[in-house]
């Protein structure tokens, strides 16, 4: 890669650098694991514990008593159920991990295509007196093909994960509903929720009246705030506005924000983009939603 080293100062192709740093080869940090290792093996450890308990009790059981045979069978069935649950969680974690990586690769392909088209467009404008841009670069077609493959993989993974996500959402919705009932409010604020919509303002006289729809506002989670803070700091360091003595992982912060963005509804994504741009402030970057790929992107404005 030639561009990333040149462009650290010039600002061209920064997105490419950002993406390759996050998931490229070993020299660019690919081995940095994002596996959900903290939960790894909890269910399996519980099964191990159950097996140990059962083994200890097994010797003391009198199998001449029919009830004890039932008890043994019950324990085997319970273990089977737990083991299947453990396998299910493992598959889910693995699919989520893969999905995240495929999405990231897909975003990278999209960014590369855009970058190539931009370079072509600029080149043509400068050299060939502003002719209409025509995609003739065969590598763009190659990249498009790669992107299509990734989209198909992503769709398949989404289908595989769909059932579990639906279950999760149903549980989440039920939880929100019960919280709302308890609070007596029409909304709840969680990390992913947005405020706003058609607000019902309670008047002093006790009558309720629908007010004008308010614009959605993103309520950041602590993790989002931290990631955003890291990213802004990385931007400042890249622009030499602050000393680079504090180590900050910009690509990881970008990845975390992208992940949050990906799990939101379209209106929440818009609110999220507004919030991100507020946080960026005067830095020469602008966050936006890529309507084609539906991903979060950052463009350099100066």
């Amino acid at each position: 890669m030639i561009f990333p080293f040149i462009t650290q100062r010039s600002g061209i192709c920064e997105p490419r650098m950002l993406r390759f740093m996050g998931a490229g080869g070993p020299e660019t940090g690919a081995e940095r694991s994002v596996e959900p290792t903290e939960r790894h093996g909890q269910t399996l450890d519980r099964i191990d514990q159950m097996i140990g308990d059962n083994m200890r009790k097994l010797d003391g059981i009198d199998t001449l008593v029919a009830e004890n045979v039932d008890l043994l069978a019950q324990r085997v069935e319970d273990l089977g159920k737990q083991a299947k649950e453990g396998a299910g969680k493992t598959v889910q974690r693995t699919q989520e991990f893969l999905f995240q990586r495929v999405q990231h690769a897909s975003d990278t392909v999209h960014m590369l295509i855009q970058e190539t088209l931009d370079v072509d467009r600029e080149g043509r404008q400068n050299i060939a007196e502003r002719r209409t841009v025509n995609i003739t670069d065969p590598r763009v077609l190659q990249l498009s093909e790669d992107g299509l493959s990734l989209s198909k993989m992503s769709t398949r993974l989404h289908e595989m994960m769909g059932r579990k996500l639906d279950e999760k959402n149903a549980t989440g919705d039920a939880l929100d509903a019960s919280l709302e009932d308890q609070e007596g409010t029409g909304r709840s604020v969680t990390w992913q929720k947005t405020e706003g919509g058609l607000a019902v303002a309670k008047q002093e006289g006790g009558t309720e009246q629908a007010s004008q729809p308010e614009k959605e506002k993103y309520v950041p989670s602590p993790s989002a705030e931290k990631s955003m803070g890291d990213l802004v700091l990385a931007m400042k360091q890249a622009n030499s506005e602050v000393a680079a003595d504090k180590k900050v992982d910009g690509p990881a912060a970008f990845q975390a924000l992208s992940q949050e963005f990906h799990g939101m509804k379209p209106e929440q994504q818009d609110a999220f983009v507004v919030w991100v741009n507020e946080q960026i402030g005067n830095e020469p970057y602008k966050a936006g939603k890529d309507n084609l790929s539906g991903t979060l992107r950052f463009d350099r404005t100066a």
Partner: protein
Amino acid sequence: MPKTQTDPSGVLPFPKELPPLPDNGTELYDSIMQMVEPELVSKELPKVRERLKAEKPEEVKAHARRYMEAFSTFNQIMKQSEKAMHKEIKQFVHTAYASLEQTTNAMDAEKITQLEETFAEQKAVKQKTPEEIMREADKAPDPNIK
């Protein structure tokens, strides 16, 4: 396992398919348990009670112990299995990015060649022919030159 070898043309192929992972937990459970204890695969689990009840009392404990040990072995394989699946994913991602990097490197090289050609064209100074020099010498002097 995604293909990581280069094709004869030397181009690293972009992976076209996902790494072979189980669709769901039951599939993973059955694939492991089939090797460990076929009597405990998900289809056979509901029959465990009947099996144990049909055993002689002295055999029940041994059978139950065999099942417990099977679950213990299952657990050990399961832990390794997740690591193996993640390794496959990393391999898949690595292949994808290596292929993309190869494509972008080729694009970068091409762009740089184009830029170098453009600079070379701009720098090239056209040498005047003797006829051109003679023609210029025959011209009336520029009135602005004193």
